[in-house]
């Protein structure tokens, strides 16, 4: 308590004076009264009273001095003294500050991302009781609309459930047309989330009256500002979505961007409507699973109770509907498209957080050894202070306040830098064609963590010299001048810390090299197609208002016209490019199956619709059989091309050509060709079975035109654009190279590589300063010894050997341990990075060279210093 009083007193000296004066005044007056009562005259009484007190000014000074003496005992003096000490040794302060900024900064950045992405990802009221309803099996996150409706009406544990899916369409006004990402949502979507409109109104469950009953859209605030100049007259206006009219009824508030962390859509549309106009089939089909279902738990209901409730409903549904065979439910945190991205992203971020923490630990280790060395350097000063009566506690408190002052300063700087960095991250848009923003803004929680980290790290490295101080024998230290008392042949805590740090650095360097090599290898991986030299022209014929029946005609014409462009070697069409953002799978059944359920299926296969010539354009090798022709159409028998995995799993060793299999509704398909295996969803996936259907038998409006040409893209695109515009000038196309489109699948690996690289760099810097500090310290402490050695004829090689032996041993053992840890860690990396393996001469060589270089950099100057020792000069100095 009194600490604060004292500090307050030092600031309010004059108030203290007044109080003392008042107290003395009252004392004097009481004495005068008593004196007069005893018979003195008033003058006599006053004189006596004052005389007894002596000099009042001196008295007052003595009283305040008593106060100041105790006041200065507190922090004030410690802090001022610490500041002076730190200013005096600016090299130490600078090193310590840089180290701290790196360590704390890395943690603040990673924690901010973690905080924004995982801890409170959704910007809606009470996000804590929102859950996605997904299937038990990992990666199966989507529900069908009828299942959603059943879950919503039959459950007793959720206050309400909403459904949504993210889609892509062309929005046009009288003056302009845009390609937009939007959500199709159940009518209660905004009400379940608890969002309020910024302008106009939202739609509600009461607006839905069956298919195509609610032709309304709600604009996102960003889209409204950038495309409609924040004009509120847009409310009530009609716009076209894929040439179908919709009324704009409202605008969402600025911070609201739906229920996915990264995706910022342009508008929202009721799910009972669709831009193509045909929703009736979709709303009643239990087989098409492509909705995310989001529920808000009732107060007091645990996720476990809710899961039990939903599973009971699932079983009931499975008994009633063939399509729901094997239906089950699991809850997961929203914001990441269910678990598909959430689970890996969560574990990745958690892993990075651990790494960042390790970097901070390394920084602390470094500072601790730096600080211990400094304490040793100051041992004489400390010994004198102990000798003249300072308590060990006082000395310790002094050192500790230096450490904490530095840490808090470092933490403040680190927070400043990371705020700048995070601001840049927020403005970054990784893929121009996707509405993706990484919004990270530090909040009080982040600042609190930064403060905690600063003080915590300050304590950690400030407490290391305790033993040193406690063990200080002041007489001994003063006699020998400090230098001789520190034993150098024994391995100490300092060495252990440094070894750990080097191991950590090697681990990070190994991991980042493994990731880098994996990235590089993934560019040459056998993908089952060859992206270089291919241009993609994406379009959705629905945006041109074409009904499904006429799409094949248009697509055939496009292929024929584009093939005539000079320099184009092959052209084809596919509905979803492999390794793109989408892709679907379906159950396939063996011949003879009559009951079509998940449990009776042969397996789950990726499926695509392709035009004749696609295999050629994609450079996918046809192993046996034939490609499709335009005669494989609705009139001909149903045919399919399968990949090797499909053929092998369905037909075993037998030749697949001419054999048949069944799809969900019992449709029979004959295999006419087999193609090589490929990558379909991610670079690290296990081989999928895949099947290709002819476009003419399974019409698709949303497709990519694939154009292979040896010419550079900028020479082909203008001609391509002209030819396609001749077919239909109103059809919007997006042109890009296939290599560019692969950025999406490489994104996780890229992020991983970049993060590991940055962390590795941080750790390397810390390791260099650590080794440098230790080597330098050892050389300066042993100057006298070296001088004598030189005087008795030691060779430079011997000198360096004994000066740096310890650093080299530490470097070697730390590197070996780090490398071993790196091998283990690479197995974790293999989940995100293609073929991550440390058993690669380039990786091993790279790590060894890196560590050797670091060692060289760190020991070069100390070695030079050891060599330049001049015995005569040294003796003179002594």
């Amino acid at each position: 308590m009194s600490v604060f009083r004292r500090i307050a007193n030092t600031f309010s000296r004059s108030k203290l004076h007044q109080e003392i004066d008042a107290e003395i005044q009252s004392h004097v007056e009481m004495r005068i009264a008593d004196n007069m009562a005893a018979g003195m005259s008033p003058e006599q009484a006053r004189r006596d009273a004052l005389l007894r007190f002596g000099n009042r000014v001196v008295m007052r000074e003595r009283t305040t001095a008593a106060d100041a003496a105790t006041a200065l005992d507190g922090f004030g003096r410690d802090l001022r003294y610490a500041t002076r000490q730190l200013r005096r040794s600016s090299a130490f302060t600078a090193t310590a500050l840089i180290t701290l900024v790196l360590g704390i900064g890395a943690n603040v950045v990673v924690f901010s991302v973690l905080n924004a992405m995982l801890l409170h990802p959704l910007n809606v009221p009470q996000p804590g009781n929102l859950y996605h309803v997904v299937h038990k099996q990992q990666g199966y996150d989507n529900q069908s609309y009828p299942d959603y409706k059943d879950f919503q009406t039959k459950n007793s544990t959720f206050s309400d459930m909403a459904a949504y899916r993210v889609e892509f369409a062309g929005l046009s006004t009288r003056d302009a047309a845009y390609k937009c990402w939007y959500y199709r949502v159940s009518g209660n979507f905004f009400d379940v989330l608890g969002a309020q409109p910024a302008e106009g109104r939202f739609f509600h469950a009461s607006d839905e009256h069956g298919p195509n009953s609610a032709p309304y859209i709600v604009l996102s605030n960003g889209f409204w500002r950038t495309h409609f100049d924040a004009d509120s007259h847009i409310i009530g206006a009609t716009v076209d979505v894929n040439k179908h009219p919709f009324t704009v009824i409202g605008v969402a508030p600025p911070a609201f961007h739906g229920t996915e962390v990264f995706i910022w859509p342009d508008f929202w549309m009721p799910i009972v409507n669709s831009p193509s106009g045909d929703t009736a089939e979709y709303l009643s089909n239990r087989f098409s699973h492509n909705l995310m279902v989001l529920g808000r738990l009732k107060p007091g209901v645990t996720p476990l109770q809710a899961t039990g409730n939903l599973n009971a409903i699932s079983q009931e549904l499975a008994g009633q509907n063939r399509a729901d065979d094997g239906l089950d439910a699991r809850l997961t945190k929203p914001g990441w498209m269910g678990d598909q991205f959430g689970a890996p992203a969560r574990s990745f971020l958690a892993g990075i957080m651990v790494l960042a923490f390790l970097v901070l630990l390394a920084a602390c280790a470094n500072l601790a050894s730096l600080f211990a060395a400094r304490t040793a350097d100051r041992s004489r000063e400390l010994a004198i202070r102990l000798a003249i009566g300072s308590s060990r506690w006082n000395v310790l408190r002094q050192l500790l306040s230096e450490a904490i002052l530095l840490s808090v300063l470092g933490g403040a700087l680190a927070t400043l830098f990371s705020t700048i960095l995070l601001d840049a991250l927020t403005r970054w848009q990784p893929f121009p064609e996707f509405p993706i923003h990484v919004t990270v803004s530090p909040d009080p929680r982040v600042y609190f963590v930064a403060l905690l980290l600063s003080i915590g790290s300050g304590m950690v490295w400030g407490l290391v010299p305790i033993r040193q101080i406690w063990a200080t024998d002041s007489v001994q230290v003063m006699k020998t001048g400090g230098a001789g008392t520190f034993v150098f042949h024994r391995f100490t805590l300092r060495d252990l810390l440094l070894g750990v740090q080097i191991a950590l650095c090697t681990l990070l360097v190994t991991a980042s090299l493994v990731a880098l090599r994996g990235m590089q290898r993934s560019l040459h991986a056998p993908l089952g197609f060859q992206p270089p030299g291919v241009l993609l022209a994406d379009t959705d014929l629905h945006m041109g208002g074409y009904p499904d029946a006429s799409t094949t005609q248009i697509q055939k014409r496009m292929i024929e016209e584009v093939a005539r462009i000079p320099g184009v070697s092959s052209v084809g069409i596919i509905d979803e490019t492999p390794l793109g953002a989408g892709g679907s799978s379906t159950y396939v059944y063996r011949m003879g199956t009559t009951d079509f359920r998940a449990s009776t299926s042969a397996f789950d296969a990726k499926y695509y619709s392709i035009s004749p010539g696609y295999l050629n354009a994609a450079a996918t090798r046809l192993l046996t059989g034939r490609d499709f022709t335009w005669h494989d159409d609705a009139k001909g028998p149903k045919v399919a091309i399968v990949n090797e995995t499909f053929a092998q799993r369905m037909f075993g060793k037998a030749s697949p050509i001419g054999q048949s299999f069944l799809l969900g509704q019992g449709a029979l398909y004959e295999v006419v060709g087999v193609v090589e295996n490929g990558k379909y969803e991610s670079l690290t996936e296990a081989p999928w079975a895949a099947v290709f259907f002819p476009l003419a038998q399974s019409s698709e409006s949303d497709t990519s035109l694939m154009v292979r040409s040896p010419l550079p893209p900028d020479q082909v695109v203008p001609e391509l654009r002209r030819v396609l515009a001749q077919i239909d000038p109103s059809l919007p196309f997006v042109f890009h190279t296939w290599l560019g489109a692969l950025a999406f699948v490489q994104f996780p690996a890229r992020i991983a590589t970049a993060t590991l690289g940055v962390m590795g760099l941080l750790a390397a810097m810390l390791a260099v300063t650590g080794v440098f500090g230790m080597a330098m310290y050892s050389v300066s402490k042993r100057k006298r010894e070296f001088g004598i050695r030189v005087a008795v004829g030691a060779q430079p090689r011997q000198l360096i050997g004994s000066a740096l032996k310890r650093s080299v041993i530490l470097l070697l053992s730390g590197s070996i341990i780090g490398l071993l840890l790196g091998v283990v860690a690479s197995q974790l990396l293999a989940q995100i990075v293609y073929e991550a393996t440390p058993r690669d001469p380039l990786v091993l060589g790279g790590v060894l060279i890196t560590m050797a270089l670091l060692g060289l950099v760190a020991t070069w100057i100390p070695a030079q210093r050891a060599l330049r020792i001049h015995p005569a000069r040294l003796l003179r100095e002594e």
């Binding site: 009194s2 009252s26 004392h27 007190f53 001196v58 008295m59 003595r62 008593a66």
Partner: protein, 108 residues
């Protein structure tokens, strides 16, 4: 035997006075010590206030402005639990001092 100086004994006198009388202002403390010691001890009034202030800073006593019976404003002091403890140890070390001095006087 660290603090058996004059200041030590003044602290002891003040603490003991407050423990016997409960609450007193500075002038009252002076009068009480004089009276209780049969006029043998008289506190130097100029030393009393620095001592009181220091003791307050150490948390041994607490103070409060109040009005006296004669309608004057005065600062009243009272012992804290920490002061109670300090008093005990001060009494003990004073006993030691007295014993020590007596032993020396008796020696010969």
């Amino acid at each position: 035997m660290a603090r058996n100086d004059l200041q030590g004994s003044l602290d002891l006198l003040v603490l003991k006075t407050l423990s016997q009388m409960g609450e007193l202002h500075g002038y009252g403390i002076v009068l009480h010590i004089q009276r209780a010691s049969d006029e043998l001890l008289s506190v130097e009034e100029g030393s009393l206030y620095p001592a009181l202030h220091r003791m307050e800073m150490s948390g041994w006593i607490r103070s409060e402005w109040r009005v006296t019976e004669t309608n004057r404003k005065a600062k009243y002091y009272r012992l804290t639990p920490a002061g109670q403890k300090e008093l005990q140890s001060a009494e003990r070390s004073f006993e030691q001092l007295v014993k020590g001095i007596r032993a020396i006087l008796r020696y010969a």
